[in-house]
C-alpha cells in the first residue's frame, strides 16, 4: 500500500504548479468556456500537455506517453487551484478516443484537432424513443443512394444538440442482419439539411437534452467510422468511456462537505441541525459510504497503473453505487433544509443556488441514463459474477 505518487512524480507536480502560478489568471469562468477567453485557455493547456495529453502531435495533442498518475496530478492541482481543466463534452471525451482507435488516418487528421481545440463541437446520436436499455434495437435507418447515406429517423437524449457542429450517430444500415450487426457509426454536420432539433425539457426545468429528427439527411458515404455493420462495437468502446466518469467521488465529497456546512449553519428553533443526533447519524452513514467509494476509486486508479491488480468488479459497480449515493446525498440535504429544501429558481431562501434540489433530480436522471440501475445490476451479475444471462424467450 503506497498512497504517494512516488518521488519520480514530484518534478512533474512542481512543473504543473509552476504553470498554474504563471497562468492561473487566464483561467476562464465556466460560462465563457466556449468564448475567446476559453479557447485561448484551451490552447494554452494543449500546448503544455495539460489537455489531450496523450493525443499524438499530428492530431493536435501533446503526444505524451499515457501516464495515469500524471493525468491525476494535473486534475488534482487544477482542482486545488480551482482552475478550469479545459473543454469537455462528448466530442472530446467520447469521440476522440474512438477515432484514435478506429478512425481512418484521414478522419483523425480532419476531426481530432478542431475537436480538442474547441472549434468543432459534437453531439451524440445514440438512443431513440424505442431504443433505450435495448439500444441495439435502434431503427433510425441509413440507406445508400449513390455516394450518400440517406438518413431517416429520430434520436433522443442528445445533449448539446443546439450547440453542436457535428454529430456522431448510430444508424441501421443492414436491416436484415442480426440487430447487433446491422448498425453503422456515421459522422455528419448538424448543418446538413433535414435535421430538426427539439429541446427536451426535463424534471429540473432545464432542457438538458434534445430530440433530433432526421428526414432524408444526406451524408457522404465515407463519413463512417469502422466498417458497415460494425457500429455496435464502436459504440461499446465509447460506452466504456462514459460509464466510468459519471460519478467521481470527489464531487460526492464536496457535496458532503457542503451538507456539513449546511448542518452547522441551518437552525431549527435556534438549534443547529448538526445538534440533532438523528441527522448526525444519517450524515455519518453517508460519510462512511462516500469514504468507501473514495477508497474504491483509489483502488481503480491503482489498478490502471499496476498491471495485474484486479479491480474489474470494483469498476463495474461505480455507476450504480455512485449515482444512487449522490441522489441520496442530495435528498439528505433537502431533509436537512426542511421547507427551505423546497426552494427553487428565484426563491430568495435558495441554498447553494438551488443545487440541492437540482442535483437531487439530475442524479435520478443519471441513475436512469447511461444504463439504468437495472441494466447495471444485470452487468454486475453477468459479467462481474458470471451468472447466466436471461435465457432466450420462446417465440409466441
Amino acid at each position: 500500500m503506497d498512497l504517494s505518487y512516488g518521488s519520480e512524480y514530484s518534478d512533474f507536480r512542481e512543473e504543473v504548479r509552476g504553470f498554474i502560478a504563471a497562468h492561473q489568471e487566464k483561467s476562464p469562468s465556466q460560462a465563457s468556456m466556449r468564448g475567446a477567453e476559453g479557447l485561448a485557455w484551451q490552447k494554452l493547456l494543449l500546448d503544455n500537455g495539460y489537455h489531450s495529453r496523450t493525443v499524438p502531435k499530428a492530431y493536435g495533442g501533446f503526444g505524451a506517453e499515457p501516464d495515469i498518475l500524471k493525468s491525476r496530478i494535473i486534475s488534482e492541482e487544477f482542482s486545488a487551484a480551482q482552475l478550469s481543466t479545459g473543454l469537455g463534452g462528448q466530442g472530446i471525451s467520447m469521440l476522440t478516443p474512438v477515432l484514435l482507435e478506429m478512425g481512418t488516418e484521414g478522419q483523425k487528421l480532419q476531426f481530432i484537432k478542431p475537436t480538442i481545440m474547441g472549434e468543432m463541437i459534437w453531439c451524440q446520436g445514440y438512443s431513440e424513443p424505442g431504443a433505450g436499455s435495448d439500444l441495439a434495437s435502434l431503427t433510425t435507418k441509413a440507406e445508400l443512394d449513390g455516394g450518400d447515406w440517406v438518413i431517416n429517423g429520430q434520436k433522443i437524449w442528445t445533449s448539446t444538440a443546439q450547440l453542436a457542429d457535428w454529430i456522431f450517430c448510430l444508424v441501421r444500415t443492414e436491416p436484415d442482419a442480426p440487430k447487433h450487426q446491422g448498425i453503422s457509426f456515421l459522422l455528419f454536420s448538424m448543418d446538413t439539411p433535414g435535421i430538426e432539433i427539439r429541446p427536451l425539457v426535463d424534471m429540473t426545468g432545464d432542457a438538458n437534452f434534445n430530440e433530433v429528427f432526421f428526414t432524408d439527411v444526406r451524408v457522404p458515404k465515407d463519413q463512417i467510422v469502422g466498417r458497415r455493420g460494425q457500429g455496435w462495437q464502436v459504440a461499446n468502446a465509447i460506452l466504456g468511456h462514459e460509464r466510468g466518469s459519471l460519478a467521481p467521488p470527489d464531487a460526492a465529497e464536496n457535496r458532503l462537505k457542503g451538507i456539513i456546512k449546511l448542518m452547522e449553519t441551518e437552525t431549527i428553533d435556534g438549534h443547529r441541525v448538526m445538534d440533532s443526533p438523528v441527522f448526525r447519524d444519517r450524515l455519518m452513514k453517508l460519510q462512511g459510504q462516500v469514504l468507501a467509494m473514495r477508497c474504491n476509486d483509489m483502488r481503480l486508479l491503482s489498478a490502471r497503473i499496476n498491471k495485474g491488480q484486479d479491480a474489474r468488479l470494483a469498476g463495474m459497480i461505480v455507476k450504480l453505487q455512485g449515482t444512487e449515493l449522490r441522489h441520496e446525498l442530495e435528498g439528505f440535504a433537502i431533509d436537512v433544509l426542511g421547507e427551505i429544501g423546497l426552494a427553487y429558481e428565484d426563491n430568495p431562501y435558495l441554498r447553494g443556488n438551488g443545487s440541492w434540489q437540482y442535483q437531487y433530480m439530475y442524479f435520478l436522471g443519471l441513475i436512469i441514463g447511461g444504463g439504468t440501475s437495472q441494466i447495471q445490476k444485470n452487468i454486475i451479475g453477468e459479467r462481474g459474477l458470471d451468472l447466466p444471462r436471461e435465457p432466450k424467450v420462446a417465440k409466441a
Partner: protein
C-alpha cells in the same frame, strides 16, 4: 364493523375524481404550474362540489362531514396533482375557526369560494433560521416563511407559543412575496408582518395541535393519492413499453419494482383512513396517528416517487409524461408542516418516550 369507505364516501371520491379528470387534467396543471392561468377555475369547480364547506357544520351553512371525508378529497387532489387552496381554506382554517369559535363569519365566505385562508404554521413547528412572529398589543411582528397559498385573502398564523392569529392580506404593514419551490402545483409565500393588526383566534395549544394534526393527515392523504398515481402510471408504462422484444413489465426487475411500490403503498391507504377517522373519533390516538401518517407517507412517498420515475426510464425524467409534478408534490408534502424526523420525534414525545 366496517373499515373502509361508506357508499357516500365512495360517491364523494368518484365525484371529485370525475371533476378533476375532466376539469383539471395534466394540461391544466401544466398551465397553472407555468403561471399561465391561476387555480381559480379549479377552485370554483371544487366550491361547487361543496369541498370547502365539507367540514363546516350544517348549522353554520356547511355540509358537516368529517375528517375522513376531507382526507378522501385530499387523496383525489394528490392523485391529480391538483392546484387548489384545499389544505388551508377547506381544512385547517375552518377547523381553527370552528374549534375556537372565532371568525365564524368568514366560514360562509370560505365555503362559497369567496375567501381563501393561507396557513403560516412553520414557525410553530420548527422555526428555520431567523423566521418567527411575535404578538403584542394587538399587532403581529416578524416573518413567516413557506406559508401556504400565495393567493390567500388572509392567513392563519401560529407563533412559537402555538397561539393562532388571523391576519388579512390587505392589512397595513402586511407584505408577502412568492417563494418559488419545486412544486408548482401549490404556492408558498414569505409573509412579513410590520406591526400588522391581527386577531387572536386561539391561545390554546390544543386547538393548534388539532388543526396541525388535520393538516398532516391531509398531506398524508395527498401523498397517498400522488404516490398511487405514480404507481399506476409506472404499471401502465411497464405494460406498454417494449425493450428486448418484451414489455418491460415482464422483466422481473421491473415487475418487482412495481410490486415493492404496491406492497409499501397499499397499507398506507388503510393508515390514512384510520388517521382520518381518528381525528374525529379517537382523541386518545389521533395525535400519534396523525404523526405516523405524515411521517410514514413521507418515507413511502419518497420511495414510490423515485421508483416510479425509474420504471419510466428516461421518459420519467422528462417533462413529457409530467410525472415530475407528482414527484415534486410528494417531495413538498414531505417537508411542509414538519419533516419526518421532526414529526417522529413528536410522536415519541406524545407517548411519553422523551425524557
Amino acid at each position: 364493523m366496517e373499515f373502509g369507505l361508506s357508499s357516500e364516501q365512495t360517491l364523494l371520491q368518484d365525484t371529485v375524481n370525475r371533476f378533476l379528470d375532466e376539469q383539471a387534467p395534466l394540461a391544466t396543471v401544466r398551465q397553472i404550474a407555468a403561471a399561465e392561468i391561476d387555480d381559480g377555475a379549479i377552485w370554483k369547480g371544487l366550491v361547487e362540489l361543496g369541498i370547502p364547506a365539507l367540514l363546516i357544520p350544517e348549522h353554520m351553512g356547511g355540509v358537516g362531514l368529517g375528517s375522513l371525508d376531507a382526507a378522501i378529497v385530499a387523496e383525489s387532489l394528490g392523485y391529480h396533482a391538483t392546484p387548489a387552496p384545499f389544505l388551508g381554506t377547506a381544512v385547517m382554517a375552518p377547523l381553527a375557526f370552528i374549534q375556537s369559535g372565532q371568525q365564524e363569519a368568514l366560514l360562509g365566505a370560505m365555503a362559497q369560494g369567496d375567501y381563501r385562508v393561507g396557513i403560516a404554521f412553520g414557525e410553530a413547528i420548527g422555526a428555520r433560521n431567523d423566521a418567527g412572529t411575535q404578538f403584542s398589543s394587538g399587532k403581529l411582528t416578524g416573518k413567516a416563511i413557506f406559508a401556504l397559498d400565495a393567493a390567500a385573502d388572509g392567513y392563519l398564523v401560529a407563533t412559537r407559543e402555538k397561539h393562532l392569529y388571523f391576519v388579512e392580506a390587505t392589512a397595513k404593514g402586511f407584505s408577502r412575496r412568492l417563494l418559488t419551490t419545486v412544486d408548482k402545483t401549490r404556492t408558498t409565500v414569505e409573509l412579513v408582518f410590520d406591526g400588522v393588526v391581527a386577531e387572536l383566534v386561539s391561545q390554546d395549544p390544543g386547538v393548534f395541535n388539532q388543526v396541525l394534526d388535520a393538516g398532516r393527515v391531509m398531506q398524508a392523504a395527498d401523498t397517498l393519492g400522488a404516490a398511487q398515481y405514480a404507481l399506476d402510471q409506472a404499471v401502465d408504462y411497464a405494460k406498454q413499453r417494449k425493450q428486448f422484444e418484451r414489455v418491460i413489465g415482464s422483466f422481473q426487475a421491473v415487475k418487482h419494482m412495481c410490486a415493492e411500490m404496491a406492497a409499501s403503498l397499499e397499507p398506507c391507504r388503510s393508515l390514512v383512513w384510520y388517521a382520518g377517522h381518528a381525528l374525529d373519533h379517537m382523541p386518545d390516538e389521533s395525535r400519534v396517528t396523525a404523526c405516523h401518517a405524515k411521517a410514514h407517507l413521507a418515507e413511502v412517498g419518497r420511495f414510490v416517487a423515485k421508483t416510479a420515475t425509474e420504471v419510466h426510464g428516461g421518459m420519467g425524467f422528462t417533462d413529457l409524461v409530467g410525472l415530475h409534478y407528482w414527484f415534486k408534490r410528494i417531495g413538498a408534502n414531505r417537508q411542509l408542516l414538519g419533516s419526518p424526523e421532526l414529526v417522529r420525534e413528536e410522536a415519541a414525545r406524545l407517548q411519553g418516550m422523551v425524557a
